[in-house]
């Protein structure tokens, strides 16, 4: 797929989504965009994610195939560092540590190297390259903070941790409403990921519309959110009334919430609905990755393959049958003379 097709199809798809809301609002479809779409999106999200995980779960893991990244547990006097214990885990406990590092700290991505080839020589060198790790983890955590902050719209009373996050997030007390750092960082990080995708020739070459689409979507979400908070203000009380009515399963659409809110909400709904049917399922998939979530102990414990096939083998008897004379001549012991 050419870059232009991949990039612009995703870009215009997101733009088209914005267009859809604006048209809908023009036709006063507040109930559709305020109630029906959010419910459908959340339903699709949950049903879709459960379906995906169950689908994976129904496929067995026939073999124990961890990618081992450290010294195995073997002789007692061979030292295993903490790193070895985590990345060549022998017990489930250490597998959990490995998974936690992977999920919470993006351990494998942290290892990332870049290669450069000096054709004189020739000489290959490898150097640590943590940019992708840095922006990926920044992106994920700022998104998480933004998401959790939004709980203030969905809860009454607002739980302490949400308020706490909020106060940390606006620690610098700049402007009014105070600037929340997570939103800005999210926008920067996601923009970096987009720029990287465009400028890194290899990544650009492999990118599909489904790689650009979530990026544009998230940029749209962050951008409309920031616009709404600082510039095109909406009636926050009414927004919370809508949000609460939704989670109380007693939907009511208050009048007079600004158009930008509906743009923001619709893009979020699209993200939720899109989630289970796209590469974004890696959120759940990473937990099931057999190269990471299995201990390196397959000589210690027998891993069971539920479909272990019965196969035709060449038995020793058949072997001896074929070579008996030659074996006899060579002086090898035989089962049957």
């Amino acid at each position: 797929m050419s870059f232009n097709l991949a990039f612009y199809s995703a870009f215009f798809a997101v733009l088209g989504l914005v267009g859809i809301v604006l048209l809908g609002l023009g036709a006063h479809l507040y109930v559709i965009f305020g109630v029906v779409v959010p419910y459908v999106a959340v339903l699709l999200f949950f049903v879709g994610m459960i379906y995906r995980v169950v689908r994976w779960g129904r496929c067995p893991v026939p073999f124990r195939i961890p990618t081992v990244c450290g010294q195995q547990q073997s002789l007692p006097w061979i030292k295993r560092t903490l790193g070895d214990k985590i990345e060549s885990p022998f017990t489930t406990r250490w597998v959990i540590v490995r998974m936690l590092l992977e999920v919470l700290c993006f351990r494998s991505l942290f290892r990332n190297l870049s290669v450069s080839l000096d054709k004189e020589g020739p000489k290959l060198s490898y150097f640590s390259n943590k940019w992708l790790w840095l922006w990926a983890i920044t992106f994920h955590y700022s998104f998480l903070v933004v998401l959790l902050r939004h709980l203030r719209f969905f809860t009454q009373p607002v739980p302490g941790f949400v308020h706490f996050l909020d106060s940390i997030d606006s620690f610098f007390e700049i402007g009014l409403p105070q600037i929340q750092i997570s939103g800005i960082i999210l926008l920067i990080a996601v923009t970096f990921l987009l720029i990287r995708r465009i400028t890194n020739p290899q990544v650009r070459y492999i990118s599909l519309p489904s790689d650009y689409f979530p990026l544009f979507l998230i940029i749209g979400i962050a951008f409309s959110g920031i616009l709404m908070r600082y510039w095109y203000k909406v009636d926050v009380v009414a927004v919370k009334e809508l949000a609460l009515s939704l989670v109380h399963l007693n939907p009511q659409v208050p009048k007079g919430i600004g158009w930008i809110f509906y743009v923001h909400l619709f893009l979020v709904c699209v993200l939720f609905a899109y989630f289970p049917f796209s590469k974004l399922v890696h959120m759940a998939g990473i937990f099931l990755s057999p190269t990471r979530n299995l201990p390196n102990n397959s000589r210690y414990v027998r891993h069971i393959n539920p479909w272990n096939p019965v196969v035709k083998v060449h038995t020793y008897e058949e072997y001896e049958e074929e070579f008996r004379e030659k074996m006899k001549e060579a002086g090898l012991p035989l089962e049957k003379e």
Binding site: V61, Q72, S74, Y205, I206, F277, R299, V313
Partner: protein
């Protein structure tokens, strides 16, 4: 046979910039030197594999059955349901590109379809088209594409340009393992009889004669006797090898890759192992045996299909049972240990007729191998050295300046990192590590693994071996390293041509060749005899002049 360009020309041809044409629109050129010969009908026949005919990838017509597309897609669906890894890895890749420059074939060649992500995408595009609804509806926009004859050939080409080394998997944030994808791809190829002959023939040989090379029992006897004669000339020790073949009632069954007794420099490792085991028997009474039936540790079934792997591997336990040994000792081989460590107990177990491996000399119980009942010779030797059971004179390896290559499978499939290093440090005085990003779990493949080591595939092999060879070059220039030590038979077969191409002046050896050199035999200990040659028949340091006079 392909014309191999000069190293300089090969390096100059590396271009990491992807072509202007999108990848779905390019097709590989089947240039001589970049792929292996197709499998022969006779080999498919021995195994009873489908589509038995002589296969020529260079020809336009691959003689596929009429319904090849159904077979491929049904095979794919079947595997998507049987392997969670396959389905999951098809689903969760985000194309972040972290794996792109981790593949040695990409680093040494620059073909974007050798980036692990794109190699997987070749199959993923088919998966999307036929097994996901976004792909069915949106087609190309969702990254899906039709399975055509050309696409099939393209998948074939790149499934046989992956050596299943798993380096990319180390760096993938989700642990996506291209090896798994390649294995699935190759299983599909085998449903249509499209294996390489360099894999298909060893598989057929191994099935019939017990080893990849098709050596019949009397042949093994004569090869072993020849090696033992050589050994006797160098060390004065005569190993009565015939008494050790197919011997019942021994303590251990020793299984090595046939590469160890077929060609240099593997044979020196084999000699070292003979000397070592003979020493243990004479000194400590360890009874060992080798089998002509289970005369292969390696398993090219791994590169064919999981069923083929199981069919070939079954003989290990079967023979251990027939001979009534207590446990099995495995030799220096890479992919063999992937199979033994990660597959064997699952496929061929439980081996309840064997005992939990225990070193009778040191009393060490190899608890970590209690299920498989199979111990790596490096674990065994390291244990003996640790307990002071092996008198060693490391100065006998002073003519070598050693570096150690972690073979892909023992490192990333097993975690055998410290045992070999411990042995090396005890048997030689000059040991230098290669740069840290090229060893241990980040080690580079020799470029010829997973059945790609054939002569006609030479350009791909030299390209794929560049990263490894280049790291060797670094220590060669910096420390004067003159031998690359490894514990893999494919390595020992592929490094000599690779190193002479990229780093002339560096040899290749196995660990037990060095152990054999350093091992001080009883007669030597008592001063009755003196070792003047290494196992290759080259003079030891200090004996160069004497040897010349003789």
């Amino acid at each position: 046979m392909a014309e191999l360009p000069k190293p300089k020309e090969l390096v100059d041809s590396i271009d990491y910039t992807p072509p202007a044409k999108p990848w779905m629109e390019t097709r590989p050129e089947f240039k001589p030197g970049t792929y292996g010969y197709g499998v022969k009908a006779k080999n498919l026949k021995i195994m009873g594999f489908p589509n038995q005919r002589d296969f020529f990838p260079s020809e336009e017509d691959w003689k596929l059955p009429e319904n090849w597309k159904e077979i491929f897609l049904e095979g794919m669906e079947d595997r998507l349901n049987r392997f969670r890894s396959f389905r999951l890895f098809m689903d969760i890749c985000v194309r972040c590109g972290a794996c792109a420059d981790k593949c040695h074939y990409f680093i040494g060649g620059g073909d974007p379809k050798n980036m692990p992500v794109l190699r997987a995408e070749l199959l993923r595009s088919i998966y999307k088209k036929y097994f996901t609804w976004p792909g069915k509806i949106l087609g190309k926009l969702a990254g899906a594409r039709e399975l055509t004859y050309d696409v099939f050939k393209e998948i074939w080409y790149y499934m046989y340009q992956c050596s299943e080394c798993r380096r990319c998997s180390v760096f993938c944030p989700y642990g996506i393992d291209t090896c798994e994808i390649t294995m699935m791809g190759r299983e599909l190829m085998n449903l249509l009889g499209c294996n390489l002959n360099w894999i298909g023939e060893p598989v057929a040989n191994c099935y019939r004669t017990g080893n990849h090379l098709g050596i019949e029992p009397q042949g093994i006897v004569s090869i072993f006797e020849f090696l033992c004669d050589e050994l006797a000339d160098i060390t004065g020790v005569k190993v009565d090898i015939k008494a050790h073949l197919n011997r019942k009632g021994a303590d251990i069954l020793f299984i090595v890759p046939s590469g160890s007794y077929f060609a240099d420099p593997g044979t020196y490792t084999m000699e070292g192992e003979f000397l070592f085991l003979d020493y243990l028997e004479k000194k400590y009474g360890l009874k060992w045996t080798m089998s002509t039936y289970a005369s292969e540790g390696g398993n090219f079934g791994l590169f064919t299909s999981n069923e083929a792997m199981k069919r070939l591997n079954a003989k290990m336990y079967a023979e251990a049972k027939r001979l009534g040994v207590k446990w099995i000792l495995g030799g220096e081989c890479g992919h063999m240990w992937r199979v033994i460590h990660q597959y064997m107990a699952t496929m061929n177990g439980p081996a309840d007729f064997l005992e939990v491996p225990r070193n009778p000399i040191t009393g060490t119980v190899f608890e970590h191998a209690k299920e498989t009942k199979m111990v790596h010779i490096c674990e065994f030797t390291a244990d003996l050295i640790r307990h002071g059971k092996l008198p060693l004179d490391p100065s006998r390896n002073d003519h070598w300046v050693v570096t150690y290559h972690d073979s892909c499978n023992p490192s990333r499939g097993m975690g055998l990192l410290e045992e070999p290093r411990y042995i090396i440090k005890n048997v030689c005085n000059n040991f230098y590590e290669m740069p840290e990003n090229t060893i241990r779990e980040k080690t580079f493949c020799c470029g010829s693994g997973a059945g790609l080591g054939s002569e006609e595939n030479i350009i791909t092999r030299m390209r794929g071996g560049l990263p490894r060879a280049n790291a060797v070059k670094y220590v060669h220039e910096k420390y004067g390293v003159n031998v690359l030590c490894c514990i893999c038979a494919i390595d020992r077969a592929s490094f000599p041509p690779l190193l002479s191409y990229w780093v002339p002046g560096v040899d290749c050896c196995g660990i037990h060749e060095l152990v054999g050199n350093a091992l001080v035999l009883p007669e030597e200990e008592r001063g009755i005899r003196q070792r003047k040659m290494d196992l290759r028949g080259n003079p030891l340091k200090g004996f160069e002049d004497e040897m010349e006079e003789e």
